[in-house]
Symmetry: D2
Subunit: 331 residues, 4 copies
Amino acid sequence: MLRMAILGCGRIGQVHARSIGALGGAQLVAVADAIPEAAEALAASTGARVSDVDAILAARDVDAVIIGTPTDSHFEQIMGAAKAGKAIFCEKPVDMSVANIRKCMQAVQAADLPFMTGFNRRFDPNFAALRARLRAGDIGAVELVSITSRDPSPPPVSYIARSGGLFRDMMIHDFDMARFLMGEEFIRLHAMGSALVDPEIGAAGDVDTAAVILTTASGRICQISNSRRAAYGYDQRIEVHGQRGMLRAENQLESTVEIATETGFRRDPAQHFFLERYEAAYLAEMRAFIAAAKGEARLGPGIVDGLRAQILADAATQSRETGQPVDLAAD
Amino acid sequence: MLRMAILGCGRIGQVHARSIGALGGAQLVAVADAIPEAAEALAASTGARVSDVDAILAARDVDAVIIGTPTDSHFEQIMGAAKAGKAIFCEKPVDMSVANIRKCMQAVQAADLPFMTGFNRRFDPNFAALRARLRAGDIGAVELVSITSRDPSPPPVSYIARSGGLFRDMMIHDFDMARFLMGEEFIRLHAMGSALVDPEIGAAGDVDTAAVILTTASGRICQISNSRRAAYGYDQRIEVHGQRGMLRAENQLESTVEIATETGFRRDPAQHFFLERYEAAYLAEMRAFIAAAKGEARLGPGIVDGLRAQILADAATQSRETGQPVDLAAD
Amino acid sequence: MLRMAILGCGRIGQVHARSIGALGGAQLVAVADAIPEAAEALAASTGARVSDVDAILAARDVDAVIIGTPTDSHFEQIMGAAKAGKAIFCEKPVDMSVANIRKCMQAVQAADLPFMTGFNRRFDPNFAALRARLRAGDIGAVELVSITSRDPSPPPVSYIARSGGLFRDMMIHDFDMARFLMGEEFIRLHAMGSALVDPEIGAAGDVDTAAVILTTASGRICQISNSRRAAYGYDQRIEVHGQRGMLRAENQLESTVEIATETGFRRDPAQHFFLERYEAAYLAEMRAFIAAAKGEARLGPGIVDGLRAQILADAATQSRETGQPVDLAAD
Amino acid sequence: MLRMAILGCGRIGQVHARSIGALGGAQLVAVADAIPEAAEALAASTGARVSDVDAILAARDVDAVIIGTPTDSHFEQIMGAAKAGKAIFCEKPVDMSVANIRKCMQAVQAADLPFMTGFNRRFDPNFAALRARLRAGDIGAVELVSITSRDPSPPPVSYIARSGGLFRDMMIHDFDMARFLMGEEFIRLHAMGSALVDPEIGAAGDVDTAAVILTTASGRICQISNSRRAAYGYDQRIEVHGQRGMLRAENQLESTVEIATETGFRRDPAQHFFLERYEAAYLAEMRAFIAAAKGEARLGPGIVDGLRAQILADAATQSRETGQPVDLAAD
């Protein structure tokens, strides 16, 4: 039985708490949040005790921590958890600073601890099935990966100021997915972007519509496009073209119902809310972390994946700002 | 070069004339119609001469006739053409009387002439592809055939009075398709029907919405449903369930375009007009007739198929009226 | 908090136990099963006490019972629960005998107790969405309902002997769905069926492939087809044709992934296992029962729906055996 | 009646000859080809006379010429036709040299002659329907255009040597489509490409897999990807994302048939052959040219469109070779 604690009892912390409750093999023993009411509410619904970060890191009955606090707390909590010898699950981004992520990586590796970065989309059953077929060779060698991600509607401009911008808070998921599918690191990237959805986003120095192309050393290509708006739901699609064919993962619609009238054949919009769209992914992600923390399975996306994705997000931000391609160090 | 004449220069006669023009290996030499202007118009656009039925049957430069006149003229024209030794293509229904069709069949068989019944749907590329896979064993033995046919909108009640009703003018196509796909004759049938679209149709003694179930001697089952109305276009679908799977032919939509908005994902309506929907089928049908009349290919649906479909249409009409199943003689 | 007990700890009892655990507002307090180990296992995983039927019916801390025992126990348990004043959820079929169902209905109505029949498909999110649109008038008045149900593979012949045959154990779900969608009772029915999948099923006097047509007093038509085998998964589809268009609920596939290779574009099979396919339906069903038992919501399918479906299943069985249509009493 | 001549009796010249035959309002009077047998064959099947370029340009009974000769003959033939006052239809590319296209443009404009560039895809019914909805405002302002084009299999390396490479012979169609849909010129472009399909193509200095991103002055973005290989047919898709939704044009499959077996649901491959896939487009294109040449309709893609697409193809070629973005002059 893995004894777990949650740092940060907001929306994503609550999701993980529910997953732990639904899964076997783990137990939520403690929760902490800067807002006492948040911690108390989650404690009440789960039976965990209310605690604080320091106490949790010091607790002998906590094997693993889930870090779902604001990004600027991650570094300190990861370093603390590494020192305390806890298995660590940390939401993306690991940190806004690549240098800090490297420090975390060293600490985690030195302590030889399980660490998983919260790239939940790797655990989406559709995307996971697509990748399994890719790895099984169903379409031969990968030639071009194409990822489309569109949020239903833009976040408040205040969020964007904090988030580091579209490439760091939104496309970072697609960068991780691109790496996950490609199986080879990218060496060069060019990003273009505009504020077409909301001029306030442009005024804040960010974009809301963007396209990026990337290549690997062997010449494989990836294209990613993002928009902060999609009238028809949360648009999450992947297409991989290979030697012997193509694999696509289409959107999850609200139902399988189709209506045919004089205007044609209409199916439902895509599921709108990310927690609904990725419900199965969040559950599978926590199952994977629990298994890995117990040494029963290989780890999912590690801290190095958090690092790589952040490097790509930084590079895309720079490319968009300078209008020039960016070469990515082999590292 | 097959020398052909068209009896009946209405809409369907014009379709066949265009097909002959587009295909090689045949030439339209003469046309006839009770309305002189109709014959003259078709003659003008094709280069054929205006003639009349008797002259065409007597003409030495006519090898084959296409009968597209009103149904009540078919019998006399078929008997005449058989006597004159012409290859015959006749639109469905061959005749409203099964007894008359049998007489035609005897005459045609005695004269050993090519005869093709105008069941154009057998030549639709989609349905033909479905059947080819069926015959190739792609889903193993057939267990259940399901056919859905819905016209975009009901014909005038005056037409229904002449046509013999829904089972004889509309579902007859589906009875032929069912036989074509099943590869075994039906032995029993039960039909239900109602006038839900237009009460005038009910007042005229007919139905506009109907469902029929049929079985074969080996226990295979067919279900057919028809409606005289479909808001979303000309609905023409086939589904065959077999031992190892299912084959479906879906509707042909007006385009491949899909629009996604806040109400969902919408594709175009099905093609509305039967001449557009079955354009490729009419061309393939005439190609098949020309080849068969020249002895280069096996015949498509023969007069026996026209007979069988009419027997099924009569039985369905009777079943609907009496509320009882009808046994079909082995013949 | 609704205090619940489960009679019958087999597969379906376990599903309901999980649902109760996942939902709020109810608590599983006791479980019973003829096989002690089954009851003990479910008790262990839920925290409920092991008990027996009599003790449960007598228990003051049980407000509602879920009857998931073999069908031949239902009658006695329903009568007992009605006498004990418990809210009742009973799996279909309520009883194999229409006379017994009527007695249960009288007892339940006399005691004025909440009773729900386990027609889980009404709670499937897709089918429920389809019906909501139907009721909202999105396609106008219903004209034809078409239901296709195919199991992935046939049950053992031993099961069929007990189950009352295809119309009573399988198509009964479709009869209920047809009534649910049609909003009007059926007055006449004709069934055809054959043993095409497994000759042993035929030898046992049952069929494995069947089609039924039904009509209502106002002339609306329903067609249902069933097969005990579907190579491509658990095939569960509904199509409703109406005045202004058509509504369809398509199958739930294993994923949204499509692969395109030289043989074409291939999507996944339909979900195979009924517990997976109807997972969301089972949860919604139990949520509805709990709410109704607490008086917070209207009841779902009642005992009268169990009765009506059984009457249709009996009639279809008779029609298939006699080859004649069956008139259904207005009751 | 527009009197037309065809220069170049190869595959595409034959397509246009068939279109003229099928359409009303025009007559093919003369054909010419460097290979006498080719001209004679086309003359024989159409009734046109065999002639040569000079005689056709001098002929008083020729109103319009269709130039379907090898690209290096275009310049001289366009200049000659312009001097002779003929309406001109010229296959893409107008010329490999932008400077030459500008000279042609001046000559054509000075002579005030109808000129149409053979960008047939603008006339594809699906793409035309997509654009019509875009112009009708169905998804509001365009934000991102995404075009995918994949040929079934690569051309011989010898062709690539002549063609100017992937961006000039293949992606040029997509550049034209992007301009057609965007309604605003591009100002900047970045291209990446690799030889993944055939190393010989790489050895010849070209690529067979490529992705390009482009932006307009107002910040709209376009992404295009090309491959010289697609196992599943001729892949031709467009997706436009806008303010209020998304428009997509999907592939035309070989039929509407779907087969469901234990491996899932499989539809046909996309139509393979470009003449089949764009059959309707070629016909509509010629209809448009005939109408425009007769002054009855506005012209389709003009010589300026041929120029713009060539400029984009040159820029993409340069960008791919240098690894740097290219700014596009306002012109």
